[in-house]
């Protein structure tokens, strides 16, 4: 597994064609507009952080990219089957063991080599010694790793993570990001939403800022800092808050 870098400031493989691309996405829930003409793209190995205040539309955006919801406008330039999706809450069967969960989803995914896929994910998640443990007995961090592993069984070129580190303690969070960073290093594009702005700064090659369903910014963390000038010089979180304030949020 690859070691995490302290700060990732350059995109993964900027010369490669995007493996994920969506343009001008619009989503309405009744009178409320959850997304307004939001576009997003990700290249192989790229880590894209989606940040914003509560209700900004982060989960809605990821749900549309994952094919869970249909947009009311815009287009998604990929088929959902090529996207790995990991919801915020572990989405697995607690009465099945780790290996049984992986085996079930590998079969549903139509993996040609089910046993090989299960072994590979047990290796990547470091859960080999817990393979026969019921999922309900796993710690929060291990459950989340299994949750992500299920999303990776079909070896998708893009992985969508909705608040992957929420409810994890710092040590579990660190191990989770080790794992995710390893995926990125292996060429998987990862789009993740987070409330933890430091995670966007630390791991994201690019950051998308959403507020009230509107994309306010798309670029690297350093570009966001530069966008607010001296007011955001203290740290990235301060720059983010100042950026929102300057745009009336």
């Amino acid at each position: 597994m690859a070691q995490p870098s302290a700060t990732v400031s350059e995109p993964g493989r900027s010369d490669a064609a995007p493996v994920l691309e969506a343009r001008d996405l619009v989503k309405r829930f009744g009178d409320r507009v959850a997304l307004r003409n939001v576009s997003i793209s990700a290249r192989p190995g790229e880590l894209v952080a989606v940040i914003g205040p509560n209700g900004a539309g982060k989960t809605t955006l990821l749900s549309i990219l994952a094919g869970i919801q249909r947009p009311d406008g815009g287009e998604v330039g990929h088929v959902p089957a090529r996207i790995g999706w990991v919801p915020q809450q572990p989405s697995l069967y607690s009465k099945l063991t780790v290996a049984e969960n992986l085996r079930l989803f590998a079969r549903l995914e139509g993996c040609a080599d089910v046993a090989g896929a299960v072994d590979r994910m047990l290796d990547q998640t470091g859960l080999h010694d817990r393979a026969d443990s019921l999922a309900s007995t796993l710690s929060g961090g291990n459950r989340q790793r299994l949750n992500i592993a299920i999303g990776l069984l079909a070896e998708p070129p893009v992985l969508l993570l909705d608040e992957p580190s929420a409810a994890l303690d710092p040590r579990q969070r660190e191990r989770l990001w080790d794992f995710i960073f390893g995926l990125s290093a292996g060429g998987t594009a990862v789009v993740y939403s987070t409330h933890n702005v430091q995670e966007a700064d630390r791991y994201g090659h690019n950051v998308i800022v959403l507020a009230d369903g509107e994309r306010l910014f798309a670029g690297s963390p350093r570009e966001l800092e530069r966008a607010v000038g001296e007011a955001g010089a203290r740290d990235f979180e301060a720059a983010f808050v100042e950026f929102l304030r300057q745009r009336g949020h």
């Binding site: 994952a66 094919g67 999706w85 919801p87 572990p90 989405s91 697995l92 069967y93 989803f105 549903l108």
Partner: protein
């Protein structure tokens, strides 16, 4: 305390389904219990077709006039008679469940009764029509109507006994006797004995003794006839009126088979509905639903899997139950294929109902509660026999029962476990219900994953 109370009330107000069930359920149960209590068998509704001419309600018995209508009063006091004008109308009322049965009094009832008591033929019969769709009800109707006819018989029998006693008295003591407009002077055994005692040895022809002997001979002749008549009367006293029964709907399902069908249907319902509802809701509680239906399995495929799971489990349970019951009740193993068909289609219908409940309730505990609470009244309604409640209410009960798989499953199993009725109709009904409830579940899945 106050704030906790307000909090709980607010939470309840935000769970409309739960509140609706809490309010509606006791009302439904109370209504069902009320109907059960108030629809007792004290005065069953019975259609009556009285074809006896109004001018022929009197019969002559031993020279005495007997009003049959008056003697049959206990019968009509014990039932709630619904008078009809034709046999077909009576059959229609029985078939529709408007009445428990029908009583047909033939036009020659009094004539045959009079003839029978005079030793001139078999006792008359009244015809009882009944609906045999429910063996428990069949037994109730048979017992009720036969008991009421027996009451009428007893009243007539009492009258006939008085007549028989008068015949015997006539034979013993002698006297005048009218028969078909002719009056006879009956000697009587007592006087005959006196005459015979007075005769001794041979009696010359043309003598007074000869005439007395002729009188004795005539008495002997009449005595023999009267004794024969008395025998007929006494025979008629046992059952002045006989009852012929005719089934106008349903077959003769043995009560044991019927009980087995009910046990299997109730078991099938609870196992399947609870399992299907809980299994579907569990997908959501485990947060696995969206992951599974996101391209891996279609929503309809997921529903089909849950229905199949629940149906398969309950089919096995149902077959084991019937196998166990067959130790105590004679069940036709030769119709095993029909058992499987009835249980299988029934299980699919209940499974579809279960996933519809699971999709609506969305949570395992709520789905289980809903499945349990809904199943009981569905079963009770499915067991309400025709004629037990008023006609319009029975139509409502029948309509509601037809909308759920309990009644058609029970009908299919009744047919499969006996040689009565067809099984194809209920199976088709179940197939339709399976499709309808699966469609409802599919629609309910639209909001299944919405928080």
């Amino acid at each position: 305390m106050r704030w906790l109370l307000l909090k709980d009330l607010r939470i309840l107000s935000r769970s409309p389904l739960l509140v609706a069930m809490l309010v509606i359920y006791p009302i439904v149960i109370a209504a069902l219990v009320g109907f059960a209590v108030t629809s007792g068998p004290d005065k069953p509704r019975v259609a009556v077709l009285n074809e006896v001419p109004a001018s022929a309600t009197q019969i002559s018995l031993g020279g005495e006039s007997v009003n049959v209508s008056k003697e049959a009063k206990p019968l009509f006091d014990a039932i709630h008679p619904v008078y009809v004008h034709s046999r077909q109308e009576a059959i229609d009322k029985v078939k529709s469940g408007d009445v428990l049965g029908a009583l047909i009094l033939p036009p020659d009832l009094t004539r045959r009764l009079e003839a029978a008591t005079a030793g001139g033929g078999q006792p008359p019969s009244v015809e009882v029509l009944f609906n045999a769709e429910d063996p428990a009800k069949l037994r109730f109707v048979e017992n009720t109507i036969k008991a009421r006819v027996q009451d009428a018989n007893s009243a007539l029998a009492k009258k006939f006994t008085q007549v028989a006693a008068s015949y015997i008295h006539l034979l013993a003591t002698g006297g005048r006797f009218s028969f078909f407009g002719q009056t006879f002077d009956v000697l009587g055994l007592q006087r005959a004995e006196q005459i015979l005692h007075g005769l001794g040895g041979k009696v010359p022809k043309g003598s007074a003794a000869s005439m007395q002997l002729a009188q004795v001979t005539q008495f002997a002749h009449l005595a023999r006839q009267n004794l024969g008549l008395a025998n007929s009367v006494l025979d008629a006293v046992g059952t002045p009126i006989r009852v012929d029964t005719t089934i106008v709907k349903g077959g003769k399902t043995p009560l044991g088979s019927f009980a087995a069908a009910i046990a299997a249907t109730v078991t099938l319902m609870f196992v399947t509905v609870l399992l299907a509802a809980g299994a579907l809701a569990l997908e959501r509680e485990q947060n696995a639903f969206l992951r599974v239906v996101r391209g891996l399995v279609s929503r309809t495929g997921l529903l089909a899997e849950k229905v199949a799971l629940a149906a398969l489990c309950s089919l096995v349970v149902g077959l084991l139950l019937l196998a166990g019951l067959s130790v105590f009740v004679t069940l036709p193993w030769s119709r095993f294929a029909l058992w499987v068909a009835a249980l299988g289609l029934g299980a699919l219908g209940f499974g579809a109902l279960g996933v519809a409940m699971g999709a609506l309730a969305r949570e395992v505990r709520a789905a289980s509660l809903m499945a349990f609470m809904a199943s009981l009244p569905i079963a009770v309604l499915g067991l309400v026999p025709s004629g037990a409640v008023s006609s319009w209410l029975y139509d409502v009960v029948r309509g509601v029962s037809a909308a759920f798989p309990f009644k058609p499953t029970l009908d299919a199993l009744k047919s499969a476990l006996s040689h009565s009725g067809g099984v194809a109709g209920p199976l088709l009904h179940l197939a339709i219900l399976t499709a309808v409830f699966t469609l409802l579940a599919r629609l309910a899945l639209r909001r299944f994953a919405v928080d």
